[in-house]
């Protein structure tokens, strides 16, 4: 939606060479030669853009992507019943739940535990690549995507909670017991790392390219 022409007309704090303190709201100007500093009033760190945003987001994202592999390959839950011990990965759980009547549940697990984490990683990677390349296309969609990723991030933790609750509640020794398996740790790591990645991404970078003619910071 945003056009190059429109971008010309916008003015940003960075363009004005001003820092806005996120804590006390004081507007300040960076010291000559410096791009960052501290708020003279509340001592909050100031920067035009989040520090090393793209690099840090990439780092978190890569970690999340690495953890995503064992999260899906390792079992997340070990069920011990009288008939023996079963360790199931997330995908096995989806298959296990899939039945003529239980398919909605299966679908929820599939979406929440497999599709959303991977979608988050892909979305962030897309945002990072486009921001890095200074793309000026689809800015609004990209911001919407960012908001969605930010919003949805915390909900992926539900899976981890459900598993830990199940493990804590179902302890009917010796009949049946459920315990978390290593895959769960990686799954939690994926969720946390993607949340951190979202946190470290500065959405203002999406728009920076649009307000071109400016020296790119950060």
């Amino acid at each position: 939606m945003s056009t190059g022409a429109a971008a010309e007309t916008y003015s940003t704090a960075m363009r004005q060479g001003l820092h806005g303190c996120g804590v006390c709201g004081l507007i300040s100007r960076p010291a000559p030669g410096a791009e960052e500093g501290r708020c003279p009033r509340c001592d909050e760190e100031l920067a035009f853009r989040k520090r090393a945003s793209i690099q840090r987001t990439w780092a978190y994202l890569l970690s999340a992507a690495i953890c995503y592999v064992p999260a899906n390959l390792l079992p997340v839950l070990t069920t011990t019943t009288a008939t023996g011990t079963d360790s199931d990965t997330i995908l096995q759980g989806v298959v296990l739940l899939w039945s003529p009547t239980g398919w909605p549940l299966s679908l929820i697990v599939l979406v929440a535990s497999i599709m959303i984490p991977s979608a988050k990683i892909l979305a962030l990677a897309y945002l990072l690549v486009t921001a890095r390349r200074g793309s000026i296309k689809n800015n609004r969609q990209r911001v919407r995507l960012y908001r969605m990723v930010e919003f949805i991030g915390r909900w992926s933790m539900v899976d981890v909670f459900v598993d830990t609750f199940t493990a804590a509640l179902i302890q009917l020794q010796p009949l049946m017991s459920v315990s978390p398996a290593p895959g769960l740790l990686f799954f939690a790591a994926v969720v946390v790392l993607t949340m951190l990645a979202v946190e470290s991404f500065d959405p203002r970078l999406i728009w920076d390219a649009a307000s071109s003619g400016e020296q790119v910071h950060a």
Binding site: S28, A31, C39, D43, Y60, V69, G84, L193
Partner: protein, 529 residues
């Protein structure tokens, strides 16, 4: 803090930060750690991946890919990952992912089998599989040679898991009520089991493999005898009814017992896999082995019903041998049937200790002399009924002083001993004689006479009956005469009254005459007046 610099527009200048930043953010530490952890997990997974084993079974009943486990002593050490049919569709090939570090278990003589619920006699095993489903059991071999492809056992071995003890091999003519898992008893204590059995290739004997648990295996030595303690051993023989049992358990499911003759010197325990004979019962097991048995032939010209191989041969009631063969023969010269009975004598069984055996003396000649002398003194073989109930007979060697003289022909093979007709035959003969005498009696004639006599008697009886009827009539008449209202009685009554009246008249007359004797002359006075 407030520096007091107030630039135009009221915008203060922020305080500069020391520029001490490297190009690379420390945050890259996180993906490096993640990658390291990921690699570590992957490596441990791959390293932790145990060997893959394939098993061949006849049937995969109860097995499930991804679920069925391999258990060793109750420890889960593998999972079935795939089940497929063999190329010829006859068998099932099962792929198993073993647990890590199980390579040492998979050797040449490692065995696998499917554990299913099994109920045999007193043993109920694999009950857990009713709930958990079948699993694959294994026994780790002792070989050093590794192996990855195995033939699964179709039946679960009874003894597994390196239980302490020893295997012994028993040779038996028949299996009786044995089965794998049948208990083995030592002094009625269950000390082992039958682990397997197989028919010998020649089909004559069965090889029964038994396992004796430690520490009881030390009681098996080369002198030990094994016998069928199968259930209820009822034997009817010439010596009567014999019931032998080992324990209630063995009554139900059979068993094998073993024992060592206490009188024999204690020998070191037998080697594992030593071969023993499985006897049919305890008595047979402990019958002393015939030492240098001698075969003789007895020829009977009578029925040998009740005599069979195994029937005892007794000398004056002491068992000295047994019948080994009974068959008939025909003499073509006179077409006479006779029954040669082959017996085996074991003089040792007499319990007679032979003393005075000097070196150099030929035992054979001594024996011949002995037997010659015995026969000379009238020792003969005879068939005797041992048991009236069963009709079993035995061969008795006894002295018959009146027997016809006989000699032993030592040139024959086997040597024939003289016989005398059996008691049974003698009894039969005398009974036959009695029957013949009865037969000779003129029974027909006696019957006829009797018949005639009976006819006469009948006639006599008829006439007697007529007489009786007549007598009855007579008596009836007599009865009528004496009845109270019969005519005769009334007449008699009247007569008596007349007589009575006459008598009164006479009395009146005599009274008158007494008072008037003159009336005799003059007549009545009154009349006269």
């Amino acid at each position: 803090m407030p520096e007091g610099e107030r630039p135009a527009g009221g915008i203060v200048e922020s305080r500069g930060l020391p520029r001490s930043r490297t190009r690379l953010s420390l945050v890259w530490f996180i993906p490096i750690v993640a990658a390291l952890v990921g690699v570590w997990v992957a490596v441990t997974r791959i390293m932790g991946e145990g060997p893959v084993v394939t098993l061949v079974f006849q049937s995969a009943e109860g097995l499930e890919a991804g679920k069925t486990k391999v258990h060793y002593n109750g420890v889960d050490i593998g999972t079935v990952t795939a089940i497929r049919l063999s190329q010829d569709h006859q068998r099932v090939i099962i792929t198993i992912q073993m647990a890590p570090r199980t390579e040492a278990f998979l050797v040449e003589d490692t065995r696998f089998w499917v554990v299913r619920p099994r109920i045999s006699g007193a043993n109920v095993t694999g009950l857990g599989t009713l709930i958990s489903g079948a699993y694959i059991g294994m026994e780790i071999g002792s070989s050093k040679q590794g192996r990855r492809h195995f033939e699964g056992l179709e039946t679960q071995p009874v003894i597994t898991g390196g239980e302490a003890g020893r295997f012994f091999v028993l040779k038996a003519p028949d299996l009786g009520s044995l089965d794998t898992g049948t208990p083995l008893f030592f002094r009625r204590l269950q000390v082992g089991e039958v682990s397997s059995y197989a028919l010998d290739p020649d089909g004559k004997l069965l090889t029964v493999k038994v396992f004796v648990r430690a520490p009881y295996d030390q009681y098996v030595n080369p002198n030990t005898r094994f016998w069928h303690a199968s259930g209820f051993d009822v034997s009817l023989s010439a010596s009567g009814l014999k019931v032998q049992t080992q324990s209630v358990l063995s009554i139900l499911i059979g068993g094998i017992a073993f024992e060592t003759d206490a009188t024999l010197p204690v020998l070191p325990p037998a080697e594992a896999d030593s071969v023993f004979t499985l006897y049919s019962d305890r008595a047979v097991a402990f019958r002393p082995a015939p030492e240098n048995p001698q075969t003789y032939r007895l020829i009977f010209n009578e029925s040998v019903r009740g005599l069979a191989a195994g029937s005892p041969v007794e000398f004056r009631g002491i068992p000295v041998g047994e019948v080994t063969d009974v068959r008939a023969q025909i003499d073509l010269r006179n077409f006479q049937f006779s029954v040669p009975v082959t017996i085996q004598l074991d003089p040792r069984r007499l319990g007679v200790k032979v003393v005075g055996t000097a070196a150099g003396v030929n035992l054979e000649t001594v024996r011949r002399r002995l037997i010659d002398s015995l026969v000379g003194h009238g020792v003969r073989a005879q068939l005797r009924t041992g048991n009236l109930l069963t009709g079993a007979v035995y061969v008795a060697l006894d002295v018959f002083p009146g027997a016809a003289p006989a000699t032993v022909d030592w040139a024959q093979r086997p040597v024939e001993l003289p016989t005398v007709p059996g008691q049974l035959e003698q009894t039969e003969e005398s009974i036959n004689n009695i029957i013949k005498k009865i037969d000779r009696m003129p029974l027909q004639q006696i019957g006829d006479n009797l018949q005639k006599a009976l006819g006469d008697l009948d006639l006599t009886l008829v006439s007697a009956r007529g007489t009786l009827v007549t007598a009855q009539g007579t008596l009836d008449n007599a009865s009528n005469l004496t009845a109270p209202n019969s005519a005769q009685v009334q007449q008699l009554d009247a007569t008596m009254q007349e007589v009575s009246r006459a008598a009164r008249s006479v009395r009146v007359l005599t009274d008158y005459l007494e008072r008037h004797p003159e009336a005799l002359i003059r007549g009545k006075q009154g009349e006269a007046k």
